[in-house]
Amino acid sequence: MSTQQQKPETQESPDDSEMNGTESPQQERLEKKERSMVDERSADESDLEGDTVHIKVFRYDPEVADKQEPRFDDFHVPFKKGMTVLDAVMYARDTYDSSLTFRHSCRQAVCGSDAFFVNGKQRLGCKTQISELQQPVRIEPLPHQEVVKDLVVDMDHFYDQMHAVEPYFKDEDTPDASDLEEQRQSRENREKVKMSTRCIWCASCMSSCNIAAGDNEYLGPAAINKAYRFAMDDREGDEIKEHRLRILEQEHGVWRCQTQFSCTEVCPKDIPLTEHIQELKREAVKKNLKFW
């Protein structure tokens, strides 16, 4: 089964200034992101102290008779200050139903395992304070991916797209052990690729992208960002960069992006994904002009 058909409940149409392209700075969007989180706060944390939080969790298991039809289970979890969505589902699993299934590992927003669709938006469970959400908190698997069980989705397609951009440094002449010299890189250049290297492969962006939903071959924001990380790194030569741009400008590459900013909106690491995609479009145009 798939959640392909489900429409996000709170999908907003991107506002005009964003549609117009790349002018709006990352900072502005971050602030907006912040504001929207505050708006959603249902209550002060102190109001919840001693109370329970109501969560509704998507359930599905192809093998178990009463879970073959997808359903939502309700859990009431005792609230504790600082409780995250991940804390809540872990509590529900460890206390009420040990078959409740989801991926999680580091609990600190770096392993990228626990991206869920929470109240209609892609978020990392471990990084989302439950007190900031409207109750009941609806927790679903990431849309546009096959559901394996409960909140676990099949990540193979996402990994395939990540691998499709040749995501590795193409430094073919690494010197031998004895005389390894570091390559120089300017601080500016390191700064340029810094945000792109923060990706934790959580697949939130891919799940939020309408284009990726309709075109299975579209590389998607995460993979293009991965390519950006290499294409913009001065330590790789010009020839390699051209090769990378050729991969990116193919039919299902950068030109598919319609700058809706949904990926940038949901990225838990605040990577300016849409800006990176736009920049690669410009690079691709420049490269092609060069050969005219």
């Binding site: 040990s98 609990r107 394996v148």
Partner: protein, 612 residues
């Protein structure tokens, strides 16, 4: 059945590096991991990689600092290998594209870290581990190395000779988490365990939920001894509510610790008059808890770490990730207020006993990274020494397993002539297997030596029976209850400050956990992505590993490195310049000791008073 030359279990920094090395050496290598590689806990490492790269620094200084930091329980051949190989392996990461922080002239930046005589911690912001993990995975993708991700390795396929030194490991048995399918993985040349730490044995830990000591437990039950398990590092700066790590880089850049009276206690209360906040981690962790115990803690629980004076620009440049962590997991803005911190379980210095080529006493079985004990870190690991260990010893284990000659090791493994038996340990309860034990350890075949395939098939069969039993059993105890009890006992009694009485209590509770585990069952009947099953098996591993930590802590009646004992608060070099080794012995564990090697290549490291 799958078949490869080398099977690497675990795909964090050490596992990925081992796989790349085995591939470089021409072997057909595969990674088998319960997580997709990029989910591994190496990604949470923040601080950096110690390597003597600059002029004015050299590997001998690095080795000296490491030996001093280890409180003279590191083995010199391992320590020197680490210090010598680290520069080359660090620069190799740079060539593989690692986005290190840079100086104005374009060279990689290095910063001061606790216990270092030279600023040699090479870093990429405060997210060095994340970049290392991704760069290593990129190399695995580049080489087309086969990855079996979300396959949970349950057991080793090992022969069952009486003496573990005579045993051979022929592969592993794993099940596919997604489908429940159980398969044997035959390793023609070697199995490398790189399964990470056992932090989930404690309830306040910086470690991921996946850090359950699986490799430790499998190797232990197969007959490889666990070494120096009592040495657990409690990181001085973890966030109080979640255990999320705040990098030592904050103190490296100049961050200051204050108690509730606003005193800079590291100096004002004389814990480390020279190095202050940058004393070794064990020293700072004890200082913080002493402050709290003497009533000078903030809210009676933690102390403050202040970095505001570093200025926004420097913080954003070098420690930006810390701001996010403090905000997201503690609701504190590090730019305008101090961050609450307290010691949290962070790292296990001990592990599966190996030599400097990563080999255990079992033929064909290797270990590298946090699950292994070479031993580089001895009684206490220095900040910035875990990541070089991953790449240096991961590489060596991968090479050696693939047949590359790395020379004769100087470190000995397994029970032998050079060890001393522990004969009068005062144990409150018998450790080891209990009643009907659900995991076989070695494949007992009554002495009939089968071929590699036969041993593997038999281990697959045992694993299948074990899983069927757990899933088909309809009621009993659930793992979460046992795990919580175990974690609480370890945090209550085998923490920073340890007493004989407390450790004995812990051993009794561990025994109870074992007995309760006899009645454990898996409620989820599904074979699809059954995390209930996986956690149930992990819990068994945690019981075995926690018991060795407590046993080591009980017998080592001295104060060395991270291990503090109330009854004997001195470093007792006369009696304790030796490693603690615990062997499963088919369910009736025994304890023995092997002298530490302080003789290096051309000098001997004389134990000195360790002051910072």
């Amino acid at each position: 059945m799958y078949e490869h030359d080398v099977i690497v279990v675990g795909a964090g920094g050490a596992g990925l590096r081992a796989a790349v090395a085995a591939d470089e050496a021409g072997a057909d290598v595969a990674l088998v991991s319960k997580l997709h590689p990029v989910r591994s806990h190496t990604g949470a490492a923040e601080g950096g990689i110690n390597a003597a790269l600059q002029e004015g620094d050299d590997w001998e200084l690095h080795a000296y600092d490491t030996m001093k930091g280890s409180d003279y329980l590191g083995d010199a051949p391992a320590v020197e290998t680490l210090a010598k190989d680290a520069p080359e392996d660090t620069i190799r990461l740079e060539h593989w594209g690692m986005p290190f922080s840079r100086e104005e002239d374009g060279r990689v930046s290095q910063r001061p870290f606790g216990g270092l005589s030279y600023p040699r911690t090479t870093y990429a912001g405060a997210e060095t581990g994340h970049h290392l993990l991704h760069v290593m995975y990129e190399q695995v993708v580049k080489r087309g190395i086969q990855v079996y991700d979300e396959w949970y390795v349950m057991d080793l396929a090992t022969t069952d000779e009486d003496d573990p030194n005579d045993r051979e490991c022929h592969g592993v048995v794993a099940y596919d988490v997604q489908s429940g399918k159980i398969e044997g993985f035959k390793a023609n040349q070697g199995v490398v365990l790189a399964t990470g730490g056992p932090g989930q044995a404690f309830d306040h830990t910086t470690n991921a939920v996946s850090c359950t000591g699986d490799g430790h437990a499998m190797a232990y039950r197969a007959g490889a001894p666990l070494e120096d398990m009592e040495f657990i590092q409690f990181h001085p700066t973890s966030l109080p509510s979640t255990g999320v790590l705040i990098s030592e880089g904050v103190r490296g850049e100049g961050g200051i610790l204050y108690n509730n009276e606003g005193e800079r206690f590291m100096f004002e209360h004389g814990y480390a008059n020279n190095s202050g906040e940058l004393a070794s981690r064990d020293v700072v962790a004890r200082a913080e808890l002493t402050e709290v115990n003497e009533g000078r803690g903030v809210n009676d629980e933690y102390v403050h770490l202040d970095m505001r004076h570093l200025g926004e620009e420097r913080i954003l440049d070098r420690l930006e990730n810390i701001l996010h962590l403090a905000e997201d997991f503690e609701g504190v803005d590090g730019l305008i207020e101090p961050m609450p911190v307290k010691p949290g379980q962070h790292y296990a210095m001990g592990g599966i006993e190996t030599d400097e080529n990563g080999q255990t006493c079992i033929d064909g079985l290797y270990a590298a990274g946090e699950c292994a004990c070479v031993s580089v870190h001895g009684g206490n690991r220095l900040g910035g020494n875990a990541l070089p260990e991953l790449i240096v010893f991961g590489k060596r284990a991968g090479y050696h397993a693939a047949g590359k000659d790395l020379g004769e090791p100087q470190i000995k493994t397994g029970y032998g002539d050079d060890v001393e038996d522990e004969t009068d340990a005062d144990l409150p309860v018998a450790p080891g297997a209990s009643g009907l034990d659900q995991s076989g350890g070695v494949a007992a075949d009554g002495g009939v030596t089968a071929d590699a395939e036969g041993i593997l098939e038999r281990t697959v069969e045992q694993t299948r029976e074990q899983i069927d039993y757990l899933i088909e059993k309809d009621d009993g105890v659930q793992h979460a209850e046992i795990r919580a009890k175990l974690q609480k006992a370890m945090t209550d009694y085998v923490n920073v400050f340890r007493t004989e009485e407390g450790i004995k209590k812990a051993l009794k509770i561990i025994r109870e956990c074992r007995e309760e585990y006899q009645d454990v069952y898996v409620d989820d009947p599904s074979r699809t992505f059954n995390t209930d099953l996986q956690q149930t098996i992990e819990t068994r591993n945690l019981i075995d590993v926690a018991e060795t930590i407590a046993l080591g802590a009980l017998v080592r009646n001295e104060f060395r490195g991270a291990h503090w004992r109330q009854e004997n608060q001195i470093r007792d070099d006369e009696n304790w310049l030796k490693h603690t080794l615990i062997s499963w012995d088919d369910g009736e564990p025994s304890i023995f000791y092997r002298p530490v090697i302080l003789e290096g290549e051309d000098k001997t490291y004389e134990p000195k008073v360790r002051s910072y």
